[in-house]
């Protein structure tokens, strides 16, 4: 082939050997990635893990800075709004001060007949509310039954539910032993909600008629101008006219059974729960690293002895010993109970990490770079701290992310059975415990802290999965 065949019209050769120089071939065109850079790159590609990371960051911000934004004391009781469900602020209507009620007297009514027994009596008729039913008072009036006269008195019941299915009339709020008095004023602990009042007739011996009449009453929240000023809801009583509405203290997530603000308690509870979750797991993972590294590096007899002891600690029934240690270390009264729980958790949880790190160290001990360092005269402590432990960091980090949710779980469990933090210190677990008691009527008291625990544990678990995938090729899950 001649030279002319390989040139185009412009005279430039279309095929020519690429000039090779020894240095150019060795140039790396992209910057090299360190282990951690590579892991971070892989973690970023994992959307689930990244979202979890943001949730964890958000939770930490919520915990650390939340109380500075939402400056409500978690121990403050708002007795006007006990067990308020979550939602917008409650509104109260301004009313005039309470005025006594004369009652209702039915002078024309039939006289009491002592010969009429309760089983022949019927419930009164025309049960109505007099005036507006407010949180100040609910006033009822009724008429004696004309077809079955002779009642010697009345009894009034109040229930939160309709009594129909089981004839559950509820709480007896009043008894009137004068048949001519056919009105009743209820002022007992009224809350702005629907009540079912039932009235029935009594015979001369106080026995109840089986027949009753029920009225449902919607109670309106009212407040007097003076009360509003006293509670700091208004500046001047004179500015408020009856019929105006006043916004009560705002509890966005509602209040608990003692009227404490749920949002504030969740924030302060998060401090306890996350503190224990993070600090306990850090401390015991750190201890496990040192223990495992010592065992793995020493090898032989020492290793056997140390790991046998770790096996014993693993065999201890975890929760039983948590409870024992919790009592053993929790001496002072008035203590929040956080410190003993931390100590107990650290004492019982380290062996898993120790085992893992020991296994890693045993492998790394045989690596070339360790031999090289030893050859250069590195001392044992330096070898372990500088070369071995940093190379187990990936595994350790994964362990740590899984240790945090399990520590949070343990704290919640202990607080739930009443062996964790002492009241009034809130923690998510103890809030769940309190919420469980009122679960049937006000489920938000259980659901809010339970949701926080679940989201936190979920985020840490998913983050752990992501980290495992990113950091450790061997432990990579098949999901």
């Amino acid at each position: 082939m001649s030279e002319a065949d390989m040139t185009t019209g412009t005279g430039v050769p279309s095929f020519a050997p690429v000039p090779t120089s020894a240095t150019e071939a060795q140039v790396i065109s992209r910057p090299s990635l360190s282990y951690w850079q590579d892991a971070w790159r892989r973690l970023k590609a994992n959307r689930r893990a990244l979202i979890s990371l943001w949730i964890v960051v958000g939770l930490l911000l919520f915990t650390v800075f939340g109380p500075f934004v939402w400056r409500v004391d978690p121990d403050d009781q708002d007795l006007d709004q006990i067990s308020k469900p979550l939602g917008p602020a409650s509104v109260a209507t301004v009313a005039t001060a309470f005025e006594p009620w004369a009652g209702v007297y039915n002078t024309l009514g039939p006289l009491p007949d002592t010969s009429v027994a309760a089983d022949r009596l019927l419930a009164p008729a025309e049960l109505v509310a007099v005036g507006e039913a407010t949180t100040q008072a609910v006033r009822l009036s009724w008429q004696p039954n004309r077809t079955a006269p002779g009642a010697s008195g009345w009894r009034v019941y109040r229930n939160l539910y309709h009594p129909a299915p089981d004839h559950a009339l509820g709480l007896p709020v009043g008894e009137i032993l004068n048949p001519a008095e056919t009105g009743f004023e209820d002022r007992l602990d009224l809350e702005p909600r629907r009540y079912f009042y039932s009235v029935l007739a009594l015979d001369a011996w106080g026995a109840e008629s089986s027949d009753y009449i029920t009225l449902s009453v919607d109670v309106k929240r009212v407040i007097t101008a003076d009360e509003a000023v006293a509670k700091g809801l208004a500046d001047d009583a004179l500015e408020l006219a009856p019929g105006d509405s006043v916004e009560l203290a705002f509890h966005p997530l509602g209040t608990d059974y003692l009227g404490r603000d749920m949002l504030a308690r969740l924030m302060h509870g998060a401090r306890v729960s996350l503190f224990i979750g993070i600090v306990a797991s850090f401390v015991y993972v750190a201890f496990g690293i040192l223990y495992g590294a010592a065992a793995g590096f020493a090898g032989g007899r020492v290793d056997q002895l140390l790991m046998r002891f770790a096996d014993f600690v693993v065999a201890l029934p975890f929760l039983l010993f948590m409870i024992l240690f919790r009592i053993l270390f929790g001496v002072e009264s008035g203590d929040s109970g956080i410190a003993p729980m931390l100590v107990a958790m650290v004492l019982l949880s380290w062996p898993a990490t120790a085992r893992l790190v020991r296994g890693q160290i045993l492998q790394i001990r045989e690596e070339g770079y360790v031999g090289a360092a030893r050859l250069l005269g590195a001392r044992s402590a330096w070898l372990v701290m500088r070369h071995m432990i940093p190379n187990t960091m990936g595994v350790i980090l994964v362990t740590l992310t899984f240790a945090v949710p399990s520590a949070i779980f343990t704290e919640a469990f202990l607080s739930f059975i009443g062996m964790g933090v002492a009241p009034p210190t809130p923690s998510w677990g103890s809030m769940c415990n309190e919420g469980l008691k009122t679960m049937l009527t006000t489920p938000h008291e259980l659901i809010a802290p339970a949701l926080f625990i679940s989201i936190t544990v979920l985020a840490f678990n998913l983050l752990g999965d992501g980290l495992r995938d990113a950091l450790d090729a061997r432990m990579r899950s098949t999901e």
Binding site: A315, L316, I327, M419, S454
Partner: protein, 310 residues
Amino acid sequence: MGRYILRRLVQGVITVWFIATATFFAMHNVPGDPLQSDKAVSAEIRANLEARYGLDKPLMEQYFIYLANMAQGDFGISFTQQNREVNDIIAEHFRISAALGILAIAFAALGGILWGALTALYRNRLPDIVIMLLVILGISVPGFVFAGLGQLGVVNLNAALGFTLFPVGGWGTVSHMIVPALVLGLGTMAFLTRLMRSSMLEIANADFLRTARAKGLPANRIFRKHQLRNAILPVVTVLGPSIAAITTGGFVVELVFAIPGLGRYFVQAVQQSDYTVIMGTTVFYGAFLVFMVIVVDIIYGFVDPRVRLE
């Protein structure tokens, strides 16, 4: 084989001794003691009481007496319940906890294997996604929340039906057990589902499956005989620790559903610092767990011939 079992048993006994020792010394350092009561007790009576329960002896002597009694299977008498033997208490209440635990394990294992196999079968399709979402939920929600929600569900179910299908609490009939056992097994079920799924997927590309397919076995048979059977192995391994998790998780379920099991008893004994009951229960639970792990390991050797017990 025999030597292996013997060695494991000896190790187990040493572990139980360790647990007993740790419990004994932890217990005797706890502030307060079981003889404290509301009533003022004169020094003389107190001395008599201490003599009756052997608390007047030096600590080490008490420890050896305790060990000797325990070796004969005698955990002593309760401090708070007059003249009641700890052995009786354990025998009576553990039966209930065990029944609950066995049912929960059965739910968890069956559910875990079933759901795990389903997810692997429908990989990345709707059933897989839905089940794995539920699994993540099951792992992240604490057991006591399940217990509370389970009870709430029972209340609503009974109200909707108009009669009591499942009692809200208590113990006695089979219908008392079902909801608590389900609630108790839920966390473990989620965990086992995840394990089963990854184990199924790991096996999916195994050579013996390709061989089975190549020789023309029906897909159904390959799935049942080859894939499922081999995938169950890891599930068997974690059953031991799972039993431990379920027995301790039983505490909460027993508290919430008012079941007179040993867990509830233990919490009560701790509050009253009833030494003998606490020590007896802890050692008993410890021994039970150690034994269960050994049993599972031995069973594993039978299930998987590749594992040699040495």
